[in-house]
């Protein structure tokens, strides 16, 4: 059988990066092809080439076995290839029906012919399992999962024969995700060719009939349905065995607290005070459901929220912290949850970002000592193996893992005594994750107290020496390593113990 759409030897060069280096892929009707790889492996670029968003520099596309080119994404759509973007491309202020036909409205005498379009819109909605009554509803009022389905309906309304999903579940709830899987199954059974990009390996296992693994812009292998397992995928993605993701060279250095929260409450927070200790040389994990108040507590300690009662001690000394600058002086550092919004100046380079919080020690008489600042950046780029073409390269252009390392570098350059990590590996791919865990372990081994907030259960269990669990803003319990297991944590996090 000839594949519906195939790419042969695709090459795509961007300034400074060879995104695709001779990649081939085939999309068959009635099959779900998962495309997996680490960040920067070329998944999204390949999809955009298939959908006419990018033009390949070399290689060719075959449609039903015949060479074809898609100079625009519209021409791909006309040929039956639709791309469903990670960030949905819907006009929030227009109705569902208007969105389904956006850009290709049926007209009569130059005016939009709603009557002709409506039955076709409702038919498309029904195919994805949405009620026909939604056709008049504004898209802005839909849940993310429904929006995703509207996008699919839009593809079906133009009789797409291939649909490409780019990380479709990143903003969906579990129920919405399950619904999406059903729709994908139905589409496949109706002969549509599906390409599915994801880096959630569990979901690849669920939906894919075949998995294509990319690594550094090249084909790294293909797996048939029976071969798709977590280990096989990771091995192909990383190109080596991942051993010992969670290193442990540290030893607890003292029972005295590096950081102690004493009966702490903060304004706008829960009324019950929290007392907690982070010891030098340990990683204190902090678990909790979304909204349990973990980030808020860390922000209060770091001077981003005002403390109502109680106090903070660092190395046994009471410290008054009402602004992050006090926290820095006291030896606290924090890697925030949202590095793009709070951690980095994306348009500036590593050479600007790393010295920024450290200018007090990099200046004389108020003037920045450029040589020292450059040296600091350079040192940390080398220490943390930050892959950047230069210190001037905008950090926004680096991969998630490297961005996160720049945030670490910013803080570590001050040699803090306590490091607060809020979701330290969010949006970081598997390979870089291992590096970040090694950095965290190394820091603790040097006697830092590490307070690691995380929603990633594996990471919590793997990295922590103790785990504090918050429920509804209150400390539900602290587990020692012998007591670690997912169930115990979830019981505390959901308040089942109380």
């Amino acid at each position: 059988m000839t594949p519906f759409l195939s790419a042969v030897g695709i090459r795509k060069q961007f300034p400074g990066v060879l995104a695709l280096d001779g990649v081939s892929a085939a999309l068959n009707g009635g099959e779900v092809l998962a495309i997996v790889g680490e960040n920067g492996a070329g998944k999204s670029t390949l999809m955009k080439v298939l959908a006419g968003v990018y033009q390949p520099d070399a290689g060719e596309l075959l449609l039903d076995g015949k060479p074809v080119s898609f100079p625009t994404s519209q021409s791909a759509v006309d040929a039956g290839v639709s791309l469903i973007h990670q960030e949905l491309n819907l006009a929030e202020n227009l109705s569902v029906g208007a969105n389904i036909f956006l850009g290709r409205e049926t007209t009569r005498f130059g005016l939009i012919d709603d009557r002709a379009m409506k039955p076709r819109a409702t038919a498309a909605l029904e195919k994805v399992g949405l009620p026909a009554s939604l056709v008049e509803v504004r898209v802005g009022r839909l849940a993310p999962g429904q929006k995703q389905l509207v996008e699919i309906a839009r593809a079906l309304a133009v009789k797409a024969r291939a649909i490409i999903f780019d990380e479709p579940t990143s903003s969906l709830t579990q129920t919405e995700t399950d619904r999406l899987y059903e729709v994908i199954d139905t589409l496949r059974d109706n002969g549509v060719a599906i390409a599915y990009i994801s880096h959630r390996l569990a979901e690849v296992k669920r939906v894919a009939d075949r998995a294509l693994v990319l690594r550094d812009g090249r084909n790294a292998g293909e797996l048939e349905k029976s071969e798709i397992t977590h280990d096989n995928l990771v091995r192909k993605m990383v190109g080596r065995e991942l051993k010992n993701l969670y290193p442990r060279t540290r030893v607890l250095q003292s029972q005295d607290a590096a950081l102690r929260l004493q009966n702490l409450t903060y304004s706008g927070g829960p009324s019950a005070p929290i007392s907690l200790e982070v010891r030098p040389g340990e990683v204190l994990g902090m678990a909790g459901l979304v909204g349990a108040g973990r980030t808020e507590l860390a922000e209060a300690v770091f001077g981003l929220r005002s403390i109502a009662n109680g106090h903070v001690e660092i190395n046994g000394q009471k410290r008054v912290i009402t602004h992050p600058s006090h926290a820095l002086k006291a030896g606290l550092a924090m890697v925030p949850e949202d590095r793009r919004a709070h951690g980095l100046l994306l348009p500036e380079g590593t050479g600007f970002n790393v010295p920024l919080p450290n200018l007090d020690i990099l200046s004389r008489a108020g003037l920045v000592e450029d040589a020292k600042a450059r040296q600091m950046s350079q040192t940390w780029v080398e220490k943390l193996h930050i892959r950047t073409p230069s210190l001037a390269q905008a950090v926004g252009l680096l991969s998630g893992g490297n961005q996160q390392k720049v945030v670490f570098a910013k803080w570590l350059a001050r040699e803090p005594k306590v490091l607060i990590l809020d979701e330290p590996t969010r949006g970081v791919d598997v390979g870089a994750r291992g590096e970040i865990y090694a950095i965290i372990d190394d820091l603790a081994a040097r006697g830092l107290g590490v307070w690691m907030i995380s929603s990633d259960m594996e990471e919590l269990l793997g990295m922590s020496d103790r785990i504090a669990v918050l429920h509804d803003g209150q400390l539900a319990g602290i587990l020692d390593r012998e007591q670690f297991n997912e169930e115990a944590i979830m019981q505390l996090a959901t308040g089942a113990h109380r």
Partner: protein, 343 residues
């Protein structure tokens, strides 16, 4: 450096066209001197607003602050304050205005656009209230004092105003114009602001603020304090602009003096490479950017006096449209240039 290549090219082209329009009169020292004075004057205003723009803010009140300060300086002297002291008080009034702006922006979390837009009306009103009878002129202040007042104070006025005018503007009280000293004033100020912006810790913080206020705060930067500094700097420079204006022009009309100059200053900054989104811009760029508009006006008046043009078009009404179009072209060129740099 590449960011300012565009504005330098624009200046070169404009000068070339000026020479082409009138090779004899346009190149006379008298004309160059006048243009240079204007360029330097707007440079002072541009430095102030440029720094605010780097932090991601904006100041629309500059023209009114110039007007109010010019009038205040005159009115103070009229009521018996010696010129040197009047100068200090006027500069302080600018600092107070900047403090008010920053307070409203940081404490009440109002948008800079709105706060300074309100300021634009308020300070214009103040200027008119300070001198309800209209025109304020330095020579008439001196003459009034000589004829009706205290001859000793009249002498102080003559001495100090004479010195100020000669040092800051390069003109004597009799309006002999030796050298455009405002260019030297600008040079000194640009050097100071340049060190602040490009060499000091504060400058780094201002860029950080302009890129991402939240990230700046997480990095331990005192966001609010730094905003006070830049708004105070901007309004104080505008006040200095007011003093320069009355010294240069000799007399000012509170209703109209400085009207629209904030836009000249902002366009100067933008032409010089400041991004209205914040986080970008350089002092050298601001100085060159501010030089464009006065030169353009001069060019247009020379083109307008070419006989062939004069027979066909009345140039005066065309000026605003020409300025707008030139700026638009400059912006388009700059934007496409930047895009090419990126890809």
């Amino acid at each position: 450096m590449k960011r300012i290549a565009g504005v330098i090219l624009l200046l070169v082209v404009l000068y070339a066209m000026l020479i082409w329009a009138d090779p004899i009169n346009a190149t006379r020292w008298g004309n160059i001197k006048d243009v240079l004075s204007q360029q330097a004057f707007f440079g002072v205003l541009t430095l102030g607003v440029g720094v605010v723009i780097v932090t991601g803010g904006i100041d629309l009140s500059i023209g009114s602050v110039v007007g109010m300060s010019a009038v205040l300086f005159g009115v103070l002297m009229k009521s018996g304050v010696p010129p040197y002291l009047a100068l200090l008080i006027t500069l302080a009034s600018g600092a107070v205005i900047g403090t008010i702006h920053a307070t409203l922006i940081t404490r009440l979390k109002l948008q800079p656009f709105l706060v300074t837009l309100c300021g634009l009306f308020v300070y214009r009103g103040l200027a008119r209230m300070l001198s309800p009878n209209g025109q304020v002129g330095i020579n008439s202040i001196i003459t009034d004092e000589q004829t009706k007042g205290d001859p000793a104070f009249a002498q102080t006025l003559t001495d100090q105003l004479g010195t100020l005018r000669e040092v800051l503007i390069g003109k004597t009280l009799e309006s002999e114009f030796a050298f455009p000293n405002q260019a030297i004033v600008l040079l000194v100020l640009a050097l100071l602001v340049g060190v602040l912006l490009h060499k000091s810790v504060w400058g780094r913080y201002w860029y950080a603020l302009g890129h991402n206020e939240n990230a700046a705060k997480y990095a331990g930067i005192r966001v609010e304090r730094n905003k006070f500094t830049v708004y105070i700097l901007c309004s104080t420079l505008a006040s200095l602009g007011g003093i320069l204006t009355i010294l240069d022009y000799g007399g000012v009309n509170p209703v109209s003096i400085g009207e629209g100059w904030e836009l000249y200053a902002i366009t100067g900054a933008v032409l010089g490479g400041c991004s209205l989104r914040g986080g970008e811009g350089s002092v050298v760029g601001m100085v060159f950017g501010a030089a464009v508009l006065p030169l353009l006006k001069n060019l247009i008046s020379f083109v307008g006096s070419i006989p062939w043009v004069m027979d066909r078009v009345k140039i005066d009404p065309v000026i605003p449209a020409l300025i707008g179009l030139t700026l638009l072209l400059g912006t388009i060129a700059d934007e496409s240039f930047r895009r090419r740099l990126k890809s």
